[in-house]
Amino acid sequence: MKFDPVEPGVWPELVYPAYKSTVKRGPLQPNLRIAAPIPTSRNIQAGPHILLPNDTDLTLHGKGGEPLGEKIVVTGRVTDEDGKPVRNSLVEVWQANSAGRYWHSRDQHAAPLDPNFYGLGKMLTDDDGRYRFISIKPGPYPWGNHDKAWRPAHIHFSLFGNVYAQRLVTQMYFPNDPLFDYDPIFQSVPDEAARQRLISKFSLEHTVGSEMLGYEFDIVLRGRDATPMGL
């Protein structure tokens, strides 16, 4: 595949002082543009054997019943820059529970853990590039970066694409969150349209009866001119 330079403002700023821990961790030298055939044409092989039975239903992980919170289904298509589906590709997701607490030893937020919700999932995209998983709407949480620092509710995504250079880790947000304007992680992306693309859309089409609300989040990975599979 070909990887055109990304337009200025679309990637977040690697050093963005309002997000304090970027200051000593973001590389200061520009990335080197490297032509290398393997990372742009090959990838890891992740097959269905890596999936566990409930990896796409995060509400079924508890031993004691249903988790608390607003049950949701999140779905979308993963495509490349030509709009072609990114098929059979590994997607990992993780998130806080409905109270804004992660199932993680380092999370010190005083909100309660939910014994029926860990917030961990993974899946493969289908032949149309689509993924779909069932979860609970995560809560916002404080993170100590500055006074009254609260993260807007979000779900973390890790994507492997169809070739190695398409790797992406990002966060999906929910519509109309009042915290967007105050969140330096969201705001570290200079381009307004690129920020808006991180926000999922409520979807009546994907809403399931009286069971759960639908959210749609499409993802476009870098890369164009994919070689058709099997050639």
């Binding site: 990887f3 997000y19 304090k20 000593k24 973001g26 080197l32 032509a35 990372p39 092989q45």
Partner: protein
């Protein structure tokens, strides 16, 4: 104007979700090639402090064929430890062609976009012909080369900033 989805940090809470793949590379579970290499190092921030919540992935494309029993052949993932340390056993690629030992991806809290790099072995006779190294400014190439630290063991550190900032890549 492309409409790509932008990046966001992995944050500090990736470990539980990412552990299944890290586990697959641990001794006892790992089913790799007979000829493999222990790659160890530390990851540091711009003050030289260890980064204790990074994730390092190492991909050895040729190695995939040598460890077909492995959960995801040719791929390792390791969270950094309290001292910023990571260590993983990767299948050895055929030497002498200047190919990296592994293509490496780095993630961390405070790193808003993952960074690609690659690591080479100092005793690979093909380093001078490496197509990747030859695209790196000469004075920075040594920063991509792991030094032999024992029998089948090599050491390579990652520095996010500073005089010895690791060269990071954007593939064309």
């Amino acid at each position: 104007m492309s409409k790509i989805t932008t990046s966001q940090t992995i944050g500090p809470f990736s470990h539980e979700a990412w552990q299944w793949l890290a586990d697959a590379g641990l001794p006892g579970k790992l089913k790799t090639a007979e000829h493999s290499i222990q790659l160890s190092g530390c990851i540091y921030d711009g003050d030289g402090n260890p980064i204790n919540d990074a994730q390092v992935e190492a991909w050895t494309p040729e190695g995939a064929g040598l460890e077909t029993e492995q959960l995801i052949p040719g791929l390792r993932r390791m969270p950094s430890g309290e001292g910023g340390e990571f260590s993983m056993r990767v299948p050895a690629q055929q030497a002498g062609r200047g190919e990296p030992l592994a293509y490496v991806t780095v993630f961390a809290r405070g790193l808003v976009k993952h960074q690609f790099t690659a690591v080479f072995l100092e005793d690979d006779a093909g380093l001078a012909q490496s197509t990747i190294l030859n695209q790196v400014p000469e004075e920075r190439r040594a920063l991509l080369i792991a030094r032999r630290s024992g029998d089948g063991a090599y050491r390579w550190d990652i520095r996010m900033q500073g005089e010895n900032e690791t060269p990071f890549f954007d593939y064309v």
